[in-house]
Amino acid sequence: MKRMNQTTMRRLISIGMLLILILLFTILAGAGKGKFLNFDNLIEVVRDASIPTIIGVGVTYIIITAGIDLSTGSMMALVGMTMANIYAYTLLPFSVMIIAGLIVGLLCGLFNGIIVAKFNVPEFIATLATMSIFRALTYIIAIKDQNGVIKSQPMNHSQYAWLGGGIGKFYFVIMAMIVVVIIGQIVLKHTRYGTNLYAVGASKKAATLSGINVAKTRMIAYVITGLMVAIGAVFTTARLQSATTAIGMDFEFNPIAAAVVGGVALSGGSGDVIGTLIGALFMATLENGVRKLSINTAFQYVIKGAIIIGVVIFDATYKARMDRKAKEQGAKEGLE
């Protein structure tokens, strides 16, 4: 009998987790009342999952190279505040504002990438530091009232509001997510760059021997993440119709959690964008269910943390077992 592929197995587990969660909430909510399981609510779930997924695509790339990015939340705030400044102080059209936001995102990603790939600072330390740097920059450029107190900058323009909504229930952010996921998955699975990401994550040495530019590969992953964060910031501010210094506070947790639940191993070299999408849906379902069932939102944090630890422990033991099995089997089968 053919053994099931590790990746396929892990995918089934994450889908199973999502389905069990949906089932659980449906039962808890009382199937009849339909508080949880109805079209409108499920669309809400997908909408909530959209931004973590979009940013998660970049974070997935980074984690596949065995890296991490803890700065996405702060980066989002910085991008949002940059756009708010342009909105408040200039008469430039929206397109320019958005492009400026995207450029700031790219630059933030590039900054992370350079520290990590060129100066070899461990990823979590580097991005923990840039997390406070980006947040501080957000405060520095924050818009203040006459008394010099930081205020929330409204960005209530009809065009922008339109972007934050959708056509009926077909929210633009969901469409953007679908496009990003499709492109992200194609790049990952069907281009040299995608293959290089896996190679770098599995073994930097082997990648170098195959002529892959490891530093460049890692740097581009951070730049892509910067871009995705900027896209996330555009939709967030468009939906909120304002920018505050608190945007993205504690957000960095979400895309990482999504990736981890979706089977992107933090040791690098495995997982994909679809997995992160499933993971983000799982997290959004969890949040939504907790809200709909009027459970203290605080439990979310506990459950999220526990799930991440649980999944990571599972992955660590599972991988060790599979590796051992593969070795034993390989030795047994020999090369018949």
């Binding site: 021997l209 070299g269 070795k327 030795a331």
Partner: protein, 505 residues
């Protein structure tokens, strides 16, 4: 049978910081031949290969490829010529498929996208042509080490390599996997691919190679045609004419069976079969040499005795008392251990000599309540520095910045501070200068005189003969030979390790 010369290295010189490693070495490979390269550790094999693959730059000499002089400055250069090296440490990427690995970094593309159909087809063609037991779409994760090695070979072949370099390819293969590899090597040869085959294992070389180049002390020792590859002759050539009898052979002395048994190892067997049913004894005051090829299971056995790794079955007794397999228990019972990989396992680079020496000895350093007596700790370190002449003699010097010899002295020195019953040293003088070597030998001899039982694992035959009172030779996880009370030569030990019974002289 073999065709024109494909690769020729002429008059190669290489030295590191003034120490000559290769001197006027010539090496020639013909098209479609399996050319073996042998020599003892440090004979210069890997340096020569690294020069051919562009990892090192040669000091002098010329390399010719298909008759034309070439400059190889990087691995990429050598790949372009058509030379591929199958690395000992595998460089395949587990999450990718066989085909993705073979064409990593050179994937055929349609527009910006990888053309998987074409890539898989190209891989399948290669597989069919050489009849490899692989499928292009299998994810490497699911494959054993042998198959992973085949992927590396495929990778070389996919670049139309005319010359494959295999460095100890069977080192981590099972018997079946190795047989498969041998069949493939024959197949490649018949396809006109040349192979440089580096191995310690004479039987493989004997079976596979068309010609054999032997290096000794960085110089050409011989080039043998297939018919001349006779084990005894090869071994003799590798070791060289024994000029100084006392260095080349030695009578095994002190195998005094009446002496008290200190260490008694009974039926030690490994979980993953790297050694099995190992039983032997070491007597009071005896230096037991453990010889054999690298990978014969010697390091694994001594690690199990000391308790770093655990054997699946078997017992170890020290002075009649059964040992718990853990480093801490071993230390308290009076066992010292000097590991093989000094840099990664031997010492703490950031800490001083004092703290490294004291690390295993806090049961004897004076501790008032919970407070370590700095004075006593320092005194101990000074004793160690004096006893074994560690330089620099500053006890506060970071060990990480010392020379290899002095680092090793720190590693050994900490054990001298204890009442030892057994000292295990694994490759005690690897990468150490001659002066320090002699000092380490005399320390071992002194310890033996005091009644300590000593096990020396070493791949350096000269060293083995010099320090041992008795020698056990391991081969493929078994003890295959014991030398005691006899005159032993290097070739006798080597033959036993190779599994070649030397013809009676």
């Amino acid at each position: 049978m073999a065709g024109n010369t494909i690769l020729e290295a002429k008059g190669i010189y290489k030295s590191f910081s003034g120490v000559p490693v290769l001197q006027n070495v010539n090496f020639e490979v013909k098209a479609g031949e399996v050319h073996a390269l042998m020599g003892e550790n440090g004979a210069g094999k890997s340096t020569l290969i690294k020069i051919i693959t562009g990892v090192y730059t040669k000091d002098d000499g010329q390399i010719y490829w298909e008759g034309k002089p070439v400059e190889i400055n990087s691995y990429q250069d050598c790949q372009k010529l058509g030379v591929a090296c199958i690395y000992q440490e595998l460089s395949v990427i587990p999450p990718l498929t066989v085909a993705q690995n073979v064409y990593l970094g050179r994937e055929p593309r349609k527009g910006p996208f990888i053309d998987f159909a074409k890539m898989n087809q190209m891989t399948q063609e290669l597989i069919d042509r050489y009849q490899f037991p692989l499928k292009p779409t299998t994810v490497v994760d699911n494959l054993g080490i042998g198959q992973r090695q085949l992927i590396e070979i495929l990778k070389g072949l996919s670049q139309d390599s005319k010359l494959l370099i295999m460095d100890e390819p069977t080192a981590s293969l099972s018997g079946k996997e190795a047989e498969m590899l041998f069949r493939i090597i024959q197949k490649l040869r018949s396809e006109g691919v040349s192979i440089i085959y580096i191995s310690h294992r004479l039987e493989e070389v004997y079976m596979l190679s068309d010609r054999l180049t032997i290096l000794r002390d960085g110089k050409n020792a011989a080039v043998l045609e297939k018919k001349d590859i006779i084990p005894a002759k090869v071994i003799e050539t590798m070791i060289g004419k024994v000029v100084d009898e006392s260095a080349g052979s030695r009578k095994m002395l002190h195998s005094d069976d009446k002496a008290e048994v200190r260490l008694d190892v009974k039926n030690l067997t490994d979980k993953t079969d790297r050694y099995r049913n190992i039983s032997f004894q070491v007597h009071r005051g005896e230096i037991l040499g453990l010889g054999g090829l690298i990978g014969a299971g010697r390091t694994e056995v001594v690690r199990a005795i000391y308790g770093v790794d655990q054997a699946v079955s078997g017992e170890v007794y020290l002075d009649g008392k059964k040992l718990n397999p853990s480093p801490k228990a071993s230390i308290l019972e009076g066992i010292g251990f000097v590991p093989e990989d000094r840099r990664n396992q031997g010492f703490i680079p950031l800490l001083s000599t004092t703290k490294n020496v004291a690390l295993t000895n806090y049961d004897i350093v004076k501790v008032n309540g919970t407070t370590i007596s700095d004075a006593d700790e320092l005194a101990m370190s000074k004793r160690a520095i004096e006893a074994i002449d560690i330089r620099p003699s500053d006890p506060n010097k970071q060990v990480g910045v010392m020379s290899g010899g002095n680092q090793q002295k720190v590693v050994i020195g900490k054990w001298l501070m204890r009442d030892l019953k057994l000292l295990i040293v694994d490759e005690p003088t690897a990468g150490i200068d001659v002066g320090a070597k002699d000092e380490i030998y005399s320390i071992l001899e002194d310890l033996a005189k005091q009644g300590v039982a000593i096990i020396v694992v070493t791949s350096d035959l000269q060293e083995l003969l010099r320090v041992s009172h008795r020698i056990l030779v391991m081969r493929k996880g078994d003890i295959v030979k014991e030398f005691k009370n006899v005159e032993v030569t290097q070739s006798m030990v080597l033959s036993a390790g190779q599994g070649v019974e030397e013809e009676a002289k």
